[in-house]
């Protein structure tokens, strides 16, 4: 019976992760295309797009991506080809497997089958989990290996032998999957070591062996972390590289009567410390969890936060019912350590709130929600009032409304609002490639504007351009040291900003750019011709494709 239930959870998780997988989100974003093209490049040449042999960090647009997802994509692309389905297959599959594994982990930890099934079912339909396991694969992969590591560690604790090595291996793979895991996993392991110190001391030898195995596996990573690219990335994204604006500092100095006051209240320790605390609690704020979600288009679901509205009730009731698992002190400590540690990667970055970097929060939250359901059930069975059905009916109405709203928002309303630009889903590039690619040989140059960022990746991806031919031409142009780069171009393609007053005089050139770059009224029919307009899903103009004579 248990097996059938877990199978059912897996099927539900699979359904929600694979339904319309290539259509929603609307299009691949530049991260997905970069992962895909680099995997394709590895298949064809054994090198990344820049010609580095089997790298441990993929330079890509200058963000030095983690390697594991790229290497996992290699067999998938080999079988299914370089397309949307191949890129999204793995996150969905690993996401669905995470759901079942998490359910098993909860069962092993708390020995409560109802809690385990409810946690699994809630995770299977969790908007937060679905958001990052239907697309943007590296998160899903990293998270799966964290769950696998925890599950196998717990199996070992309960008398297993080899599972500690599997745990060590899994945690190591998590570090190769996604950046956030590089902070989350070590801190979580420290917490685990503190919680289970007695058990670990009793079986010190295998623990040391497993630790050494993990250390050896992660050693190459340590070296790659020391590369200048990684250092740059850390400085670019975290608060460690953040400098307060000069105007702000000057203003504060001017207003403070003497420098002692300024040094006391506006020193880096105080201001950055407050920023870190603020970021940490933002991750738990109702606005993020239930109301608005993160500001980033690629992470958000229109009209709601990362959880259902009904989860507000479950969260409060769940917290009030923690006593249901109080006999499992260590496991409860693990659960809360997990929840406390999970936001850390998001906290040290500059964004005030981040659903992707704090993705690991979703798991312990699901257990608390499941406890909420158990608590409600307990109350219902004890309550003798004939009106006891009313709060249950209200709760179920809120739940079904929230779930229905989520489906409507995720499949219809969100795509219509998050299609544009690098923080969104970069819609329009596929259509642009399909139009431009057959025409490119007729022109001296093809200039693609970079306003929406990353066009070179989409051209390489959808043209399935031979990596062996691209590698010698690969060159990343960066506007400044803090920004991500753009591929300069290949063959007769140029990827750069279009300045129409100057560029329109270039003969026999094909231009593609947004209306902000190529004004329709400035397209002189004697000089150039508007070949087509590519539209966003809501009918707004995305690209003009203009040819000069």
């Amino acid at each position: 019976m248990k097996k059938i239930i877990f199978l059912l959870i897996f099927v539900v998780a699979l359904f929600f992760r694979f339904y319309k997988i290539t259509q929603v989100p609307l299009s691949l974003n530049w991260d997905e295309t970069a992962f895909g093209y680099n995997a394709y490049s590895v298949i064809q040449t054994g090198k990344d797009e820049y010609g580095t042999k089997l790298p441990l960090e993929f330079k890509s647009v200058g963000d030095y991506k983690c390697p594991l997802f790229v290497y996992f994509l290699v067999p998938v692309i080999k079988i299914f080809g370089l397309n949307e389905f191949s890129i999204r297959l793995l996150p969905s599959l690993f996401g669905a497997m995470s759901v079942v594994l998490f359910s098993l982990l909860v069962n092993d930890l708390f020995g409560n089958i109802s809690l385990s099934i409810l946690s699994g079912m809630l995770l299977a339909i969790s908007p937060w989990h679905l958001q990052f396991t239907r697309a943007q694969g590296d998160v899903a992969l990293g998270s799966f290996f964290v769950i696998l590591g925890l599950w196998s560690f717990n199996k070992w604790l309960k008398g297993g032998r080899w599972q500690i090595y599997l745990s060590s291996f899994s945690f190591s793979l998590a570090l190769y999957s996604y950046f956030s895991e590089r902070l989350f996993v070590p801190v979580l392991l420290l917490a685990i070591a503190a919680i289970y110190q007695k058990e670990i001391k009793k079986r010190l030898k295998p623990t040391i062996k497993a630790f050494l195995l993990g250390f050896l596996l992660c050693l190459p990573l340590v070296f790659s972390m020391l590369s200048s690219g990684q250092k740059g990335k850390i400085l670019m994204t975290t608060i460690f590289g953040y400098q307060r604006p000069d105007e702000y500092l000057q203003k504060m100095k001017r207003e403070d009567i003497f420098s002692g006051i300024f040094n006391l209240y506006h020193n880096q320790l105080v201001e950055y410390g407050l920023m870190v605390i603020d970021h940490y609690f933002n991750q738990f704020s109702p606005s993020f969890l239930f109301v608005k979600g993160p500001p980033d288009d690629r992470q958000k679901i229109y009209g709601m936060g990362m959880m259902f509205w009904s989860d507000v009730i479950l969260l409060v009731v769940g917290m009030a019912n923690i006593w249901l698992i109080k006999s499992k002190k260590k496991e409860t400590a693990l659960l809360f350590s997990w929840l406390a540690v999970a936001p850390l990667p998001a906290v040290i970055t500059r964004d005030p709130v981040h659903a992707r970097r704090a993705f690991e929060m979703v798991y312990p939250l699901m257990v608390i929600l499941a406890l909420g359901i158990l608590g409600i059930n307990k109350w219902y069975s004890r309550c003798k009032s004939k009106f006891r059905i009313i709060p249950i009916a209200v709760f179920l109405t809120i739940f079904f409304w929230s779930f229905g709203y989520y489906l409507l928002s995720y499949y219809l309303l969100t795509p219509l609002r998050t299609y544009q630009g690098p923080s969104g889903w970069q819609y329009g590039y596929k259509q642009l490639v399909e139009f431009v690619s057959p025409l490119k040989d007729k022109y001296n140059q093809v200039v693609i504007d970079t306003t929406y960022q990353g066009p070179y990746l989409f051209f390489l991806f959808y043209e399935k351009y031979d990596p062996a031919k691209y590698q010698p031409q690969a060159f990343l142009v960066k506007k400044d040291e803090w920004s991500l780069g753009e591929g300069r171009g290949y063959d007769n393609y140029q990827f750069r900003d279009i300045y129409w007053p100057r560029d329109r005089s270039l003969p026999k050139t094909l231009f593609a750019g947004p209306p902000e770059r190529i004004s329709k009224k400035d397209i002189d029919p004697k000089q150039s011709e508007l070949l087509t307009t590519i539209y966003f899903p809501d009918g707004k103009e995305a690209f003009y494709v203009v040819a000069t004579k």
Binding site: E255, S287, K292
Partner: protein, 215 residues
Amino acid sequence: MKARRMNLSIIIFILLFLMSPTPWTLLFNFSRLSKAEINFYKFNSPVFISEINFTRGQIKEAGIAIYGKIFINKFTYFMKDAGQRYLESFDSHFLFTQGDLSIEKSTRNSGPIYWIWLPFLGYGFYLCYKNRSKILVFVLLLPILGILIREEYETFSRLPFIIGMYYIVGLGVTEFFNKKKYYWTKALVLILLVFEYSRFLHYLLLHYPYLVGRY
């Protein structure tokens, strides 16, 4: 003994509230705020209506108009907005970091509650829950007042809630300081409180006047 502790916690609660940023900021801008109008929440807000119509139009175009009627209507929008306004009161941005969105009701440098009180707030909630105190339910109901006012994150309508939160902080502080150990932690809490309080006063007296155009 219990009554004495209760009295002590009430004194501490009043003291903590008086030290908090809210009364100071409101007093600072008293003359302006006393003339301010109260804007009550409107069920038929034109912003609502236009958003509902726009979203419904998109749903209709997708050929599932019935879903639009079920999920996007005035009642659901109002309920969502009411829920949002209720939860705003618990937002860390409102409580600890920035407070009211209006520059006249908050210095924007700290919320109504100092960060240092956060653990005591948690502890106070735990004590209330443990003792099945009715004050907990009362405090959880108070943010409903915030729904009645049009402005988001509004302080006046949330004053009773803020006072309630300080009562809970007071409970936590009293209980903690009555324990006959943790001397170092107590000293640290006092140092951090002095620092937080002086940081707020420094901001109120030196930077805030520039922000509200008093200089």
